[in-house]
């Protein structure tokens, strides 16, 4: 008979907030979800209302607990995982946001980041990150300048936080962040795991507004209902933890709107020479931090949505597989979805999307194939970079996320990577990772081995194409990628 206790995890994502209640076996007991508004005030700008998000989180927490038919007393701990880099500024006295939250996809800091180009080596070496609009530091700087908040920030009256901080502030009253989220700000020294004065000076961010950096798993405090709040991790790091990638060399890949491969690199940060990010994977209590190399791909699942919403070729995302199976191959056509430039391993903001190799023979079925293959080849590029940086060869890919329901994509991934692709039994690995960390911090689960015992293979796809075909297709893909570069000219970027 299992203990009558459960772990709840809040997954505060880009488009919605969810709360999932898990049992000791890691099985889902109940799910609650609420969407929040995406605010697009100008092209390239994306904002959230942090107040609205907090209301959604409160709502889903209550719903998930009551939906499981239990009460708060039966929740052993609450974990948090969140969209990363999104930047919230609020007033210490009132707890009210002082401006809209700037979302990770927002590119308003493009000119600002380019003006800092001579400091790029500093950011790469200290923060482990390339200089890019994606991260929080430039977003804070922009908000301080444009909303005239610098003096109040210097006095500690206006506080900064990523979504984990904002939720922890509201749940426990403390101004803290977890080390994985802090590693996405460009302000934290990746070696010491502390705020770095030179990075702060380079971006002009006052120290007084920053939260205290804490481990990913410890009891931070209690909710009003007395539930211990015991973990916080960025969403991709949580997925790494949920897939139980606890040993150096283990890799997970999450397929959502974008795709993110993370490899556990152990207790030393590995600085990438091949376009990957150095990031903190997790830190459990007083133990040492575990680092990860990350390959971030901006557009994968969102390309399927684009085919549905902008071209109307399919009426639901899942139908891409049906359409792609109307033909046997890509008919010679390749689709590189560099919609907002290329992320890993290229980091080229001047690139734009290309469909290459078009002839009169190509049908919508071929284009659907090319769309699925784009996700697979982008994964291949990141895996090649990871193998080169780590000196290890990937032997299997653990894939999770919504797109793993697409069998043709999973088979294509196995074909282009030339390794087996495995789907774990719980595809909600993000929330599961936050639950695992919170459960470890409170003794609900005794150790990492007990979590590993919960991991099960739900499906496996093995490579089924010839090496010759694979190499020819990869060459063609690379030619198509080359055709996306140098499209946007410098003055257009501004």
């Amino acid at each position: 008979m299992p203990r009558p206790h459960y772990i709840a995890a809040i997954d505060q994502g880009t488009t919605s907030s969810r709360c999932i209640v898990f049992d000791e076996g890691g099985h889902i007991i109940s799910v609650a979800q609420r969407e929040h508004r995406q605010i697009f005030p100008r092209p390239g700008w994306v904002e959230h209302d942090a107040g609205e998000i907090w209301q959604c989180v409160r709502g889903v927490l209550a719903e998930a607990v009551s939906g499981a038919g239990i009460d708060n007393g039966q929740i052993a701990a609450l974990g948090i995982t969140n969209q990363r880099e999104t930047t919230v500024l609020w007033e210490r006295d009132t707890g009210r946001p002082v401006c809209p939250a700037v979302v990770w996809q927002d590119t308003r800091t493009d000119a600002l980041t380019r003006s800092l180009a001579d400091r790029e080596p500093l950011f790469r070496e200290r923060a482990g990150l390339p200089l890019h609009t994606y991260f929080s530091g430039p977003k804070i700087r922009w908000l301080l300048d444009e909303h005239d908040l610098r003096e109040r920030a210097e006095r500690g009256e206006v506080l900064f936080g990523t979504m984990d901080s904002w939720l922890l502030w509201n749940l426990t009253g403390r101004h803290i962040t977890d080390v994985t989220n802090a590693s996405r700000t460009m302000l934290m020294n990746i070696h010491t795991l502390e705020w770095d004065d030179e990075l702060l000076a380079a971006l002009g961010v006052p120290r007084a507004m920053l939260p205290e950096i804490r481990p990913s798993a410890e009891v931070y405090g209690r909710t009003q209902d007395g539930v211990p709040v015991a973990s916080a991790l960025g969403d991709q790091q949580a997925a790494l933890f949920g897939q139980t990638c606890f040993s150096p060399g283990e890799v997970k890949s999450t397929y959502g709107s974008g795709s993110f491969l993370l490899m556990n690199t152990g207790h030393e940060p590995v600085v990438s020479k091949h376009g990957l990010l150095t990031t903190v994977g997790y830190q459990i209590g007083a133990g040492p931090a575990t680092y990860a190399l990350e390959g971030a791909i901006a557009v994968t699942g969102s390309l399927v949505q684009w085919l549905r919403d902008n071209l109307g070729l399919i009426s639901s995302a899942a139908e891409i597989e049906t359409l792609a199976r109307t033909v046997d191959d890509n008919g010679g056509c390749y689709f590189v979805p560099a919609f907002s430039g290329l992320f890993a391993p290229h980091w080229r903001s001047d690139a734009r999307g290309v469909i290459a190799g078009l002839t009169g023979f190509v049908t919508k079925g071929h284009i659907a194939r090319a769309v699925l293959e784009a996700t697979a080849w982008q994964t291949r590029e990141v895996v090649d970079a990871m193998n080169a940086d780590s000196g290890l060869d990937l032997t299997t890919l653990r894939a999770d996320g919504g797109m793993t329901a697409d069998n043709l994509l999973m088979q294509t991934l196995a074909d282009v990577l030339a390794v087996p692709v495995i789907r774990p039994m719980v595809s909600e690995t993000t929330a599961l990772g936050a639950a695992y960390a919170a459960g470890l911090a409170t003794g609900y689960w005794p150790d990492l081995d007990s979590l590993r015992a919960n991991w099960h293979k739900a499906a496996e796809w093995r490579p089924a194409i010839d090496e010759q075909v694979r190499e020819r297709e990869y060459r063609n893909w690379k030619k198509a990628v080359a055709r996306t570069l140098d499209w946007v000219e410098q003055e257009e970027c501004a």
Binding site: G25, G26, H27, I28, S315, S316, A317, A318, E319, I320, E321, T322, G402, T404, A405, D406, N407, M425, V426, S427, E428, H456, K457, A458, A459, E460, W461
Partner: protein, 249 residues
């Protein structure tokens, strides 16, 4: 060809006429074109309006094709969509039952396996998506036959796979009656010696059965002593109901 029903033929002629051009048509125009009395037409049109195949313009009183008819051709559920909507519940079913989980749909008299979750014991297993099972000798197949809106017969003669296979059409009919009355199907070593399976129907928002979900495993685990553990039946029925509920959203 047996006898045909005249009013259905007339209804079809009306629909064909309304579909032949962009213009709305009045009763008088329809009556002239089809050579039918207005009274006869009124009755058929009223019926067609009620089922949504035809709409009447509020201002002109003329008729055009209805929205229901336009959606008729595209309302079937894509099997890949069904898999995407079922995946969390199939995982939970495999997790709770500790057995492999399966989803199938009817395809030319066979069960097409559209989703397969491995038994969670990390043993060597091969993905069976895209393979076929016989309808009369599988739990998924019995559910799909019992609720098939088109009453499609099993493909070919009822091949006996084991001594338990229902190879007699009359015995199979009785079994399908039982499936309909219980709302789930069992298969007791009818396909492979030593293996049993349980399945329940997945319904679309109109109540039509669009697939079946179930588990399959060793007889000594699922039915020790030859009697199915009802706990497993409730896991399967819970999963089927959860997916049906999700499809209705």
């Amino acid at each position: 060809m047996g006898e045909t029903i005249q009013s259905v033929e007339r209804a079809a002629a009306i629909l064909r006429l309304l579909a032949s051009g962009p213009r709305q048509l009045g009763v008088a125009e329809l009556a002239r074109a089809l050579g039918l009395p207005k009274g006869t037409l009124h009755g058929i049109l009223r019926t067609l309006v009620r089922v949504g195949f035809v709409e009447q313009d509020q201002e002109t009183g003329k008729y055009r094709l209805g929205a229901t008819l336009l959606h008729l051709g595209s309302s079937y559920l894509d099997v890949n969509e069904l898999r995407a909507r079922s995946i969390n519940w199939a995982d939970a079913l495999a997790g709770r039952s500790r057995e492999s989980a399966w989803i199938g749909t009817l395809h030319e008299g066979h069960v097409l396996v559209i989703h397969h979750v491995f038994r969670p014991d990390n043993s060597m297993q091969t993905l069976q998506v895209g393979t076929y099972l016989p309808t009369h000798a599988s739990a998924l197949g019995k559910v799909l036959l019992a609720y098939d809106p088109y009453d499609e017969p099993p493909a070919g003669p009822l091949e006996p796979y084991t001594k338990n296979t229902l190879a007699d059409p009359a015995a199979l009919e009785r079994e399908l009656d039982l499936v309909r009355s219980r709302g789930w199907a069992a298969e007791m070593e009818e396909l492979t010696e030593g293996e049993v399976a349980i399945a329940a129907p997945i319904k679309d928002p109109r109540g039509l059965v669009v697939g079946a979900i179930g588990i399959r495993g060793a007889v000594e685990r699922l039915a020790p002593g030859g009697e199915l553990h009802m706990e497993y039946v409730s896991y399967v029925r819970d999963a089927a109901r959860a997916i049906t509920r999700d499809l209705a959203r």
